[in-house]
Symmetry: C2
Subunit: 384 residues, 2 copies
């Protein structure tokens, strides 16, 4: 072993492709123009697989399929059962096998249409079909539009946890039609607005104020306002994604509200919707940030006011707040935790975020401070 065994060293250059740049189109009525924009963005495709959950297929499937037909494009509708419980390797394999049965070849293109689950599953089918075919993301929920559809993350859950199997597979195009939100209930709009508040709280105080000023009309689903909201949130998220395409550093900042939020979802057996959990999580984490001296005093109160104005919850459910040990255990297992120490992404002030002295985008938060923050954020507290 003293003589090195390496006799030859060949360096392989495999230049990555130049396709990691894509447009996000936002506009009312875009769903009917989908084929034209898809054909322009994915010129090499000769066949299109529209992958969508059954309820979304029922709402928009025939209409979109007809539009492809009118445009002279060869498309098929592939549906799968709705819900996070179907974000599985089984659904992925079944959709893949269905495409193979239908004879889809290497020049196929997947259109992933629906909420976050559709984007994740459809995107993962595209990422692995014959070693990868293009995907166009067509989110039809507000949460998917401003959060999931941009960034290239695809994947499925396994019995061991969420998003444990997947791939980074940036879309070739993202198409967002605010009119597709018309069928969404108010709570569905609110869940998306929570993530928009997150973008404002982290990066843009003026945006935070704009959301607050237009709260009622946004919850009501006014298309022109939603269009502005979607576009601004996508811009803010895109800047973070561009700086950290593979979620290795800066993208962690987008987890503001999510450490506590995930723990609350888990503690309530996922009866608390994700957007609501994040809403509460942002208030709790901002309070903890203030207690640590990382976050400017008053930040939590300002965020809380915006969220409350949108009809979003801002206080932990009483029962889960009392089960602190369970919350703490979940947060220690969170993907942002390091060596069992709970970490949170925290704003420095409304609309501003800074890395730690060590250059990280999440902060180690002592559990006793988080516990205090949960209590302070609960009803009757004076701090918030």
């Amino acid at each position: 072993m003293s003589k090195p065994a390496v006799q030859r060293r060949i360096r392989v250059h495999a230049p990555p492709p130049g396709v990691e740049e894509y447009d996000v189109l936002v506009g009312s009525g875009l769903l009917d123009e989908l084929p034209r924009h898809v054909a322009a963005a994915v010129t090499a495709a000769d066949r299109f697989a529209i992958i969508t959950p059954e309820p979304v297929g029922e709402l928009f499937g025939e209409r979109v399929l007809a539009a492809f037909g009118v445009a002279g494009l060869n498309a098929a509708l592939l549906t799968f059962p709705d819900g996070e419980v179907h974000k599985t390797r089984q659904a992925w394999a079944a959709l893949t096998d269905r495409m193979l049965e239908l004879g889809f070849g290497r020049r196929s293109c997947v259109i992933a249409m629906g909420g976050g689950v559709a984007g994740d599953v459809g995107g993962f089918v595209a990422a692995t079909y014959m070693r990868g075919v293009p995907v166009v993301q067509v989110p039809t929920t507000l949460l998917a539009m401003i959060d999931a559809a941009v960034g290239g993350k695809t994947g499925v859950d396994t019995p061991a946890g969420k998003n444990l199997v997947g791939a980074f597979h940036p879309p070739r195009l993202v198409v967002m039609d605010p009119l597709s939100l018309e069928s969404l209930p108010h709570d569905g709009i609110r869940a998306g607005l929570a993530e928009a508040v997150k973008h404002g709280a982290l990066f843009d105080a003026a945006y935070l104020d704009w959301i607050a000023a237009n709260g009622a009309a946004l919850v009501d689903g006014r298309p022109d306002l939603l269009e502005h909201l979607i576009a601004r949130s996508v811009q803010l998220k895109a800047a973070v994604v561009a700086a950290d395409p593979f979620d290795q550093a800066g993208r962690a900042v987008l987890n503001f509200g999510h450490t506590v939020g995930h723990a609350l979802e888990h503690a309530t057996g996922y009866s608390l919707p994700h957007g609501f959990a994040v809403s509460i999580g942002m208030v709790v984490e901002a309070v903890a940030g203030e207690l640590m001296g990382v976050t400017e005093p008053g930040t939590a109160a300002r965020i809380r006011l915006v969220l409350a104005g949108l009809g979003l919850p801002t206080a932990p459910p009483l029962e889960s707040a009392s089960r602190w040990d369970e919350l703490a255990a979940t947060m220690r297992r969170d993907k942002k935790a390091k060596a069992g120490v709970v970490h949170c992404a925290l704003p420095a002030a409304p609309g501003a975020v800074l890395p730690t002295a060590g250059g990280d985008w999440t902060h180690a938060v002592p559990e006793n401070l988080l516990r205090d923050a949960v209590q302070h954020a609960s009803p009757g507290s004076e701090l918030v």
Copy 2:
């Protein structure tokens, strides 16, 4: 629809990573130095999953695991049943679940050790584990060393066909130890040599002559000669991969011998080993190339002489040659076929390959010429 619906267009830049460049190390004794080279190439990894088929695990598993232990690196051995029938989504899911059970995190690294199946399955596990972790390829068969381990293709078969699900996931490092071939039977060496002959026939006439001059010693497994062979074949293949990382054009040239070869494998129910089928396929396709005027006269005879000198078959099995309709049907379904027209990659002369006038790297070959070529390549023919 006369007024365009696009109100906003946000361009997302997601710069690809700079990791698509990797070293291929070739040297006798490298297997014992594996941990040192892996640690140098994959600096961010904190845990290593060695994925290998059971027989390879029995041969080298304990030794490699011990070397990781000595180097102070945290490694685990994960085996799966041997053979192409286990190159499935089920094996991929089981290996993934085993890694999850063992608590492998996002800073894991997969070591795929074994033949082509190990590289494909292990590589696909790495490509999709928590949206992708690095993989180091450690091929232990000659075929895998000079063919499969370089190029980044990973994947599994489905009931509908081979390699239909997968990803491009370039390795961080490839380590090839000719001494690991010592346990390989002569036919295993021969199968690999067929692909080396292909590299010489397409790109380097002097290399073709060198293989011919050293045939007996190569089949006998002389490590210094195998080292040279592996290194030269990897250099030649790496140049093709670099020009076409995603197998969209020029890489098709590496399919010389494979259109007919795959059809023969299929016709014999896969009792004919892949390397042997490619050997026969190269002779048949070169004859067809000569009949078409694409390939310089005498090329087929020269390739045939080198292959025969290595103890490789050069004539189609009599029975399959007589079942022409079946061979033709398989070739029309081949992935290189276009609109049902059979296509072959063909050398222009020994060591030289040229694109068609249309810029393609495969040629449309009339079926009657292929049929003649199969007959001419069969025993008793005067042409070859």
